[in-house]
Amino acid sequence: MIAPEGTTDSPPTADISQLADHLFRHEFAKLVSVLTRIFGIDRLDFAEDIVQETLAKALRTWPYIGVPRNPAAWLTQAAKNLALDHIRREKLHRDKEAQIIASFEDWSSDPDSESPQFENEIKDGKLRLIFACCHPSIPPEAQTALALKTLCGFSPAEIAKAFLTTEAAIAKRLTRAKQRIRELRIPFEIPSGEELSSRLDAVLQTVYLLFNEGYKASSGENLIREELCSEAIRLAALISEHPATDLPRTHALLSLMLLNAARLRARTDSDGNVLRLKDQDRSLWDRAMITRGIVQLGQSAVGNEISEYHLQAGIAACHCSAPDFQSTDWPRILALYDQLVLIDDSPIVALNRAVAVAQVDGPEAGINAIAAIRNCQSLESYYLFYAILGEFESRLENFPTAARHLRRAIQLAEIGSEKALLSARLAECENQPTRVTKLV
């Protein structure tokens, strides 16, 4: 086959769709933000539709014409053409048409030859888009959906898979979010002055939630969940690179996500069974990602403010820098948790702190730490609460009590591989000879 000029030989369609997908994810926010700057934030839908259509066009034509030599430039040019077609056809912006066409002329089609000034505008545009999507007037669950749609180019179906909900529910969330943007006239700008700090916190919180969605579950669409983690990391990196938001807590958030994501691959074995930290093959941990995480950790240690992200990043760093489970610096982890519980009163944090307490001061201290957790009602239906108590009791050789907790944990656990792990622990406890009076 002879490839047309300016293209390479045509690779198989599957590869093209993968390449387009990858490129698209990375170009999406940029294209949407440039179009939004030109057409206004109230036409966010229009911008997204144009960019979606651009990808569809790439997927349709690339298998025939081959992958363009500069795919990003191709996408940009195609998006511009589509936008112009729409303007002319719909006559929506007749009064502004000349101005819009002028803006298009500033917009180079070749990302490699963009002026540094335009490059800064792109950075600004992306950050503006992030601030608009994470505006506090939009409900949090809609913020994460909107971020995935608008900043990461996820389809509603993909978002639904990632959040384990229906496509219709996601579509509703997205529509409402965009309605609010229009109704409240949410500005397309980077906040400044005092507002910046609180608005940035809202943005970071959304990115953190996005990461957690990807990190927490072992079930379902693993691939898409890993993608959520990497998109959250990408967004945080983008935020950390803009001078307005290049702040210590941004780096701390980025660090904690990198250091946790670095361990993702080692968390299950080849059969999908859950592995405990001490059983994980640490050579599977992503060293390059750990390095990035530690570099970010270093950049976060500035100034006089410690955020919850700093403390979580510090904890993750302790795990990542331990060559094996035995050499984990538990006293340090506990010191970090001691501070974390001061600024985050979540019972989940307190429960995790109890594990560190047990590693440092023994299982009995761990049990006491659990008993001291305030507002622990929400833990009563949480399988790890019982799994941890069971673990502590079995270390104390109170096997019948341990078995009771483990049975409750098994009831509450919902994933087969977790039930299996807990059942194995239960069997160990049940097979212990009943402890008779301890001889002194």
Binding site: P136, L277, V295, Q312
Partner: protein, 125 residues
């Protein structure tokens, strides 16, 4: 060819250099915690602007290795006992296939609201 600026952070730092960066962080942390930390991150509860549209802050599960990986594996389904949370969970159509559901706990009231009520009560007195 991808535009992920920042891939180059991935400088080849030696394990010793990484250790040094980590130690610097820990030294910084210890200095601040000795000074009585906390002022840094305003307590999460008062940072509730994220959810000013709804009722309180999101309590989400975090990427904590201690409970998930040290004890019983890493998966964590945050099941709150509050009715709203359960209602949300029930709407998930994949529930019956044994899929876990995202459930978030909403604090009973927003601290800003509490503050406002206190101020009103104070003003009325």
């Amino acid at each position: 060819m991808i535009f992920f600026r920042g891939n180059d952070w991935d400088k080849n730092l030696s394990p010793e250099e990484l250790q040094k960066v980590t130690s610097n962080f820990m030294a910084w942390f210890e200095r601040l915690s000795a000074d009585g930390i906390a002022k840094g991150g305003a307590p999460l509860e008062s940072e509730t602007h994220v959810v000013s549209a709804s009722k309180g802050r999101i309590v989400s599960d975090g990427p904590f290795a201690e409970s998930k990986e040290a004890i019983a594996g890493f998966f964590l389904l945050h099941v709150a006992s509050m009715e709203e949370a359960v209602e949300i969970a029930k709407q998930c159509p994949t529930l019956k296939y044994g899929v876990n559901v995202e459930v978030r706990q909403v604090a009973p009231e927003c601290t800003k609201m509490r503050l406002a009520e206190q101020l009103v009560a104070h003003g009325a007195a």
